[in-house]
């Protein structure tokens, strides 16, 4: 178990302790305030260089990371490598070595292959690597921002602050995750974060979209989606990942909607205060009905907004947090 990400790479939430996660959430709280200022910038990473390396298409994650780095006053080297390294004819090691030769402190890496972030951290051990999503493996900052968003909304309801509540509001919190869990790095990071913070997690999905190793996860798998909807305090929907072949795992998108889509009718089964989350991008009309997205229970936009302070916190702790006394 890792008790702090200070001075370390952030590759996975699987091995982070509750304390390590709460530290990131607490750090992000202070950056929320920065993002509300008219001048949204702090000198925390002034003079540091963050390379943003996206081997896979992404809009929000990339924008969010680069915004975060800039608001910390870091210099950002941005390289989009939409095609795989194989097609480009260069090995992953060589690509990283080239970027490293320019002089960098951190890499934000998005890659279609599971494990790419860990491989890169091995190639350049002196550089902090922030995993921006690797294959079906992990998407740690998404898991952190989801936890952060839940804590933010619940603390507002309890007329407290995130900082004061720590992980308290997660104790016994009922979280239901639905959909394409098998192919989802978000699900793996979310489950790790929620479980570490003390939530009770249930999964509901077609049999083919559950991971092979689900028996080893800290969750309960349920079959009855409708019943689970009445149970949940929070429901996390996932995108059906057709680019990872999910289409072949169900009979049709229609049938997926029929069995596991959050339709208007199903949304009525939710508790009035239950929160609806989605990491985006959404397939409206497949896993979630457009009218449900626009309901007051949905906090999808907040998730996007919180992406920036969480990524500021991750970058700050990872890059500046090695005890060099950088202040906010």
């Amino acid at each position: 178990m890792i008790d702090t990400i200070r001075g370390r790479s952030l590759l996975s939430l699987d091995d982070l302790s509750k304390e390590a996660i709460v530290e990131v959430l607490d750090t992000a709280e202070s950056f929320v305030e920065v993002n509300r200022r008219s001048i949204k910038k702090v000198p925390a990473l002034k003079g540091r260089v963050v390379a943003s390396l996206f081997f896979e298409e992404s809009t929000r994650t990339r924008l969010s990371f680069e915004t975060a780095a800039k608001r910390l006053s870091a210099d950002v080297l941005s390289l989009a490598v939409a095609s795989s390294s194989v097609k480009k004819g260069e090995s992953l090691r060589d690509t990283i070595a080239t970027i490293d030769a320019l002089g960098i402190d951190a890499v934000v890496l998005r890659h279609r292959s599971s494990g790419a972030a860990l491989q890169v951290s091995r190639y350049v051990p002196h550089v902090r690597v922030i995993n921006g999503g690797d294959g079906q493996h992990q998407h740690p900052t998404q898991g952190l921002l989801d936890a952060f968003t839940i804590r933010q909304v619940l603390s507002e309801r309890h007329a407290t602050t995130g900082l004061e509540s720590g992980a308290e509001l997660f104790a016994g919190l009922k979280v239901l995750i639905v959909g394409d869990i098998r192919h989802s790095r978000v699900a793996r990071s979310d489950v790790a974060a929620y479980a570490a913070l003390g939530a009770v997690v249930r999964l509901c999905a077609p049999g083919t979209l559950l991971p092979e190793d689900v028996a080893t996860w800290p969750v309960t798998v349920v079959r009855d989606f409708d019943e689970a909807l009445g149970w949940a305090d929070v429901i996390g929907l996932l995108r059906l990942q057709s680019e990872r072949g999910s289409g072949a795992f169900v009979a049709s998108l229609d049938e997926f909607t029929f069995t596991h889509g959050l339709t208007v009718e199903r949304a009525r089964l939710l508790k009035p205060k239950a929160l609806i989350m989605h990491p985006g991008p959404m397939n409206r009309g497949v896993e979630i009905d457009s009218r449900v997205v626009d309901s007051s229970q949905a906090i999808v936009e907040r998730q996007v907004t919180n992406g920036v302070p969480i990524r500021m916190a991750a970058l700050y702790l990872s890059v500046a947090g090695s005890g060099e006394g950088t202040s906010l």
């Binding site: 699987d14 795989s84 390294s85 194989v86 090995s91 992953l92 090691r93 060589d94 890659h111 279609r112 292959s113 599971s114 494990g115 790419a116 860990l118 491989q119 091995r122 690797d134 294959g135 079906q136 493996h137 992990q138 790095r185 793996r188 991971p211 092979e212 190793d213 689900v214 028996a215 080893t216």
Partner: protein, 436 residues
């Protein structure tokens, strides 16, 4: 006169072994006796505390030539083989282009004849290894090819495999199958299980191998042909093939050193050096293979030596090609797997006599210019001899390997037992653990 005398080693025959001197003259074993007066000018090898037996035969070597000479050539692979104690290698046909014609097989045989050891060829079962139409097996058999396989892939279509077995039977050749149902293995990159799930890597289930093993045993029963099962990696696969063999079906199987040495946990750090097909399996499968080895159930240890240029192993795990080196480590790993009570007869059965029988290399064959391998170590036999020192200790250093590639999964591993000398085609190729 070209004479070599091997002094005071444990000469390992098929059933018994004795400490003796072995005199090799002009390519043949001339004298085996307690003590021999060496002819003048004979090269002396001190083999005290060493095992002296028939040269190793690898049923499963990817020599990469033609097509991927950056990874390996017939010549560099032969040198790596000699250092590993091999006096004969069977070159796999998944080159570019595939070895599916007389011209391509002849090319490899001719290149092979220029190396210090014997290079036999496994021809492709189907044209271009595409699994659709039969390659000219009769023409290749006329060149001396005795083993056919589409290795790298199994023949997926059961009707094509049935036809291939029926066609091969009267040719007195043996087919060899890479058992993995590709539809079930899909895009898997490591063993399917809890670990692949946690790592977010798509799994290749053990069942993908076992289903094809099951299918092919039944096809052998139906056709009466012979089949060799390549690199079996699960306990169930081994159990099925040994049961079929006990029933009297003409089946044999090999296991690869990586499958009885490493388990799936090696993939935890996503290092593509540990990616291989069939994949490194669960611990219980590794234990089952080791148990089968010790009990003498296994026909052959075969390396599946699969060189890949370094840059290809610096890709992401799912993008990197599958395969790992093995020629220079196989003997030590086999010795270690056999354990403290390592029996030299079992050792030479696994590395020499068994594979020589499967590859039909026990008699010399002038058509392909290869000598006899897997011999009994008696006077008059072709001198393909390996001297193995079971006490030698060494550490694998990938920069010191003779292979053109460096993708050994054993980097930095301490090994026990090492080949001291290799005599191939009557010539001293490796002496004191180095190329002579």
């Amino acid at each position: 006169m070209n004479a070599i005398i091997i002094r005071q080693g444990l000469v390992v025959g098929e059933r018994s072994s004795d400490v003796a001197d072995v005199l090799i003259v002009d390519g043949q074993i001339k004298v085996v006796a307690t003590t021999i007066d060496a002819p003048t000018g004979a090269h002396e090898i001190d083999a005290r505390d060493c095992w002296v037996g028939p040269g190793f035969v690898d049923l499963h070597t990817h020599l990469r030539e033609p097509g991927r000479e950056a990874a390996e050539t017939i010549e560099s692979g032969a040198r790596a083989g000699a250092l590993g104690g091999y006096t004969a290698l069977v070159a796999m046909p998944n080159t570019e282009p595939a070895l599916d014609s007389v011209a391509l097989v002849s090319f490899v045989l001719e290149r092979g004849a220029r190396t210090p050891i014997d290079i036999a060829v496994a021809g492709a079962i189907t044209k271009g290894r595409a699994g659709e139409s039969l390659a000219p097996m009769a023409e290749m058999a006329a060149l001396g090819v005795r083993l056919f396989t589409d290795d790298g892939l199994g023949v997926q279509d059961p009707s094509v495999m049935r036809r291939a077995l029926t066609y091969a039977k009267p040719l007195d050749v043996r087919l060899a199958q890479h058992c993995e149902d590709e539809r079930l293995a899909a895009d898997g990159t490591m063993n399917e299980g809890a670990l692949s799930g946690r790592l977010g890597l798509v799994g290749r289930p053990a069942l993908a191998e076992e289903l094809m093993v099951m299918r092919d045993i039944e096809l052998v029963r139906l056709t009466g042909a012979s089949l060799h099962f390549l690199h079996l990696s699960t306990g169930r696969s081994v159990a099925m093939v040994t049961a079929a063999r006990d029933e009297g079906l003409s089946v044999s199987f090999e296991v690869a050193p990586h499958h009885f040495t490493l388990d799936e946990s090696a993939c935890t750090d996503y290092d593509p050096v540990f990616k291989v097909h069939p994949p490194l399996r669960a611990r219980h499968d590794v234990d089952a293979l080791r148990d089968a080895l010790r009990r003498g159930m296994v026909d052959a240890v075969a390396t599946d030596h699969a060189p890949h240029a370094p840059e290809l192993k610096d890709l992401a795990f799912d993008e990197a090609p599958a395969g790992m080196l093995g020629l220079e480590e196989a003997a030590s790993l086999t010795y270690q797997a056999l354990g403290a009570s390592s029996d030299p007869h079992v050792f030479f059965a696994l590395l020499s006599r068994g594979p020589a029988r499967v590859a039909q290399l026990r008699r010399d064959d002038h058509r392909v210019r290869h000598s006899a391998h897997g011999a009994r170590m008696v006077v008059g036999e072709d001198a393909n001899v390996t001297v193995f020192d079971p006490r030698a200790e060494w550490v694998v250093d990938r920069t010191m390997l003779a292979s053109r590639s460096m993708n050994t999964p054993y980097e930095g591993r301490a090994m026990t037992g090492r080949v001291r000398a290799t005599i191939a085609k009557g010539r001293l190729v490796v002496d004191e653990g180095r190329l002579a």
